[in-house]
């Protein structure tokens, strides 16, 4: 079968897009050409929210989404989204490759999804027309966030005015001063051309919310155990490939935004970390979630 997978990124060579294509090659090899995956990127089949629902009812075989839209469906996915939880990229990779990552992927199953893998999405930072160095700088700033309770809480905890806005309006908003800042990883700061509008990228690195690859449980259950294993294995093997691509993409984008006049600002992260208590109080409410957060913090 040629399975269908969705992705919202425009570039055919974007790390997550390339990774699923790579996974398709691996799967083809493992099944003697019987199965492969076709990637529909550019959001051709719908937004992340829409493709998640399509996957749930079996209209779509795979979907590659950010972890945030899964928060409302599967509560354990909130853990890797939490601010300043990971100490570094290496820490994040270690956690997601370990038992905590497995438990979160497994948790998606009862909601109709087979969680196959986590992909990197880098660290998200604040960019605007003013540099941000300490918590005092974000006070009263109008910062664009995604339409998500967690993101609103996170930015509010910084003392800023969280302003939910669709991504398409952000460029104009930054340009006209409707919003003072937005937050995202470097490849998005580059890809959406926001570096043309605002020049200070302040490394707050407040969240490392990863990407996920999900498969429809409806489709998965129709396969033989051997085929199911082949899919799981290919997905896991595509992770290393994606991370390599991600690191390359990040370096490339960093060069582009610097070439475009952007300035990278170093931040006193400790002042931000201390302010995040309310976010944890609001979202890490069940014993399960508390245990997972603790497990992440204890991962050396």
């Amino acid at each position: 079968t040629e399975f269908r997978s969705s992705d919202v990124h425009n570039s055919d060579d974007y790390p997550t897009v390339a990774a699923v294509k790579h996974m398709s090659d691996l799967l083809k090899q493992a099944t003697g050409g019987k199965h492969s995956i076709k990637v529909f990127n550019k959001g051709a089949l719908g937004s992340e929210k829409e493709t998640i629902d399509q996957t749930k009812i079996g209209a779509l075989d795979f979907t590659r989404v950010n972890i945030s839209p899964m928060n409302a469906i599967c509560s354990k996915t909130m853990v890797p989204t939490m601010p300043f939880l990971f100490r570094s990229v290496d820490h994040m990779r270690k956690v997601l490759d370990g038992p905590v990552g497995e438990e979160i992927l497994k948790d998606c199953e009862q909601h109709g999804f087979v969680g196959l893998a986590f992909y990197d999405s880098g660290a998200r930072s604040i960019y605007g027309k003013k540099p941000v160095k300490t918590l005092a700088d974000t006070k009263g700033m109008k910062i664009r966030v995604q339409q998500s309770d967690l993101w609103v809480a996170l930015v509010s905890a910084m003392g800023a005015n969280a302003t939910p806005m669709p991504i398409g309006e952000v460029y104009t908003g930054l340009k006209t001063g409707l919003i003072d800042a937005a937050e995202n990883n470097v490849p998005s700061y580059d890809g959406f051309k926001h570096y043309e509008a605002v020049k200070f990228y302040s490394r707050t690195e407040h969240s490392m919310a990863p990407e996920m690859l999900l498969m429809s449980k409806v489709v998965y259950d129709k396969l033989t155990p051997a085929e199911q294993q082949a899919i799981r294995k290919a997905a896991k093997e595509s992770v290393a490939f994606q991370r390599k691509k991600w690191d390359e993409q990040e370096a490339k984008s960093l060069a582009v935004v610097k070439g475009g006049g952007a300035e990278i600002v170093e931040v006193d992260k400790a002042t931000f970390e201390k302010a995040m208590g309310p976010v944890y109080d609001k979202f890490i409410t069940t014993p399960d979630l508390k245990r997972l957060v603790k497990a992440v913090q204890d991962t050396k």
């Binding site: 629902d53 749930k56 009812i57 409302a72 469906i73 109008k142 339409q147 309770d149 005015n161 302003t163």
Partner: protein, 164 residues
């Protein structure tokens, strides 16, 4: 005017009144967002989400009213060329097809609404399934109004728009 027609006319008028109130509410939401951002420097995060939800209800009701008032645009080229008795059959068929669409719309709306009832909508805290409730309501109204049109066609009378 018989009972069936009276019920349909009343439902259509009610739908339009509710749609108008929703339109005003959507405008209020968007205005409140601007006021909150500037006057209080505290953007009401629910405003945009609520506007997007309400506009679905407003549009769906208006779509149903449009079916009753024959407001939707089509190419009438073929109908006018046909002899009277074919024209009647064709018009019945068209209403039948629109009714089928309404039925499928209600059915799909029900599926999504129930499936997504336990997911919380960000910013509002209402179920995600609330997005799809208007499909059920409007779908049912469309089926009803198509039935009214078919009955009216067979009896050779016109369906009067409820409110102009």
């Amino acid at each position: 005017m018989d009972g069936f027609t009276r019920v349909c006319a009343w439902l259509s008028r009610l739908s339009l009144v509710v749609a108008v109130l929703l339109l005003l509410a959507v405008i209020a939401c968007v205005q409140w967002q601007v006021i909150g951002r500037y006057v209080f420097n505290d953007t009401p995060t629910w405003a945009e989400a609520l506007a997007m939800l309400l506009v679905l209800y407003m549009t769906s009701l208006a779509v149903a009213v449009g079916v009753r008032d024959a407001g939707h645009i089509g190419l009438e080229s073929l109908i006018v060329l046909l002899p009277e008795r074919f024209r009647l059959k064709l018009e019945v068929l068209i209403h039948l097809l629109v009714g089928v669409f309404g039925f499928l719309m209600a059915k799909a709306g029900w599926l999504w609404a129930t499936m997504k009832w336990n997911e919380k909508k960000p910013m509002l805290g209402v179920p995600e399934g609330a997005d799809y409730v208007p499909l059920v309501v409007a779908g049912a109204l469309i089926v009803l109004f198509c039935a009214e049109h078919i009955v009216a066609l067979l009896r050779g009378i016109e369906v009067e728009p409820a409110w102009n």
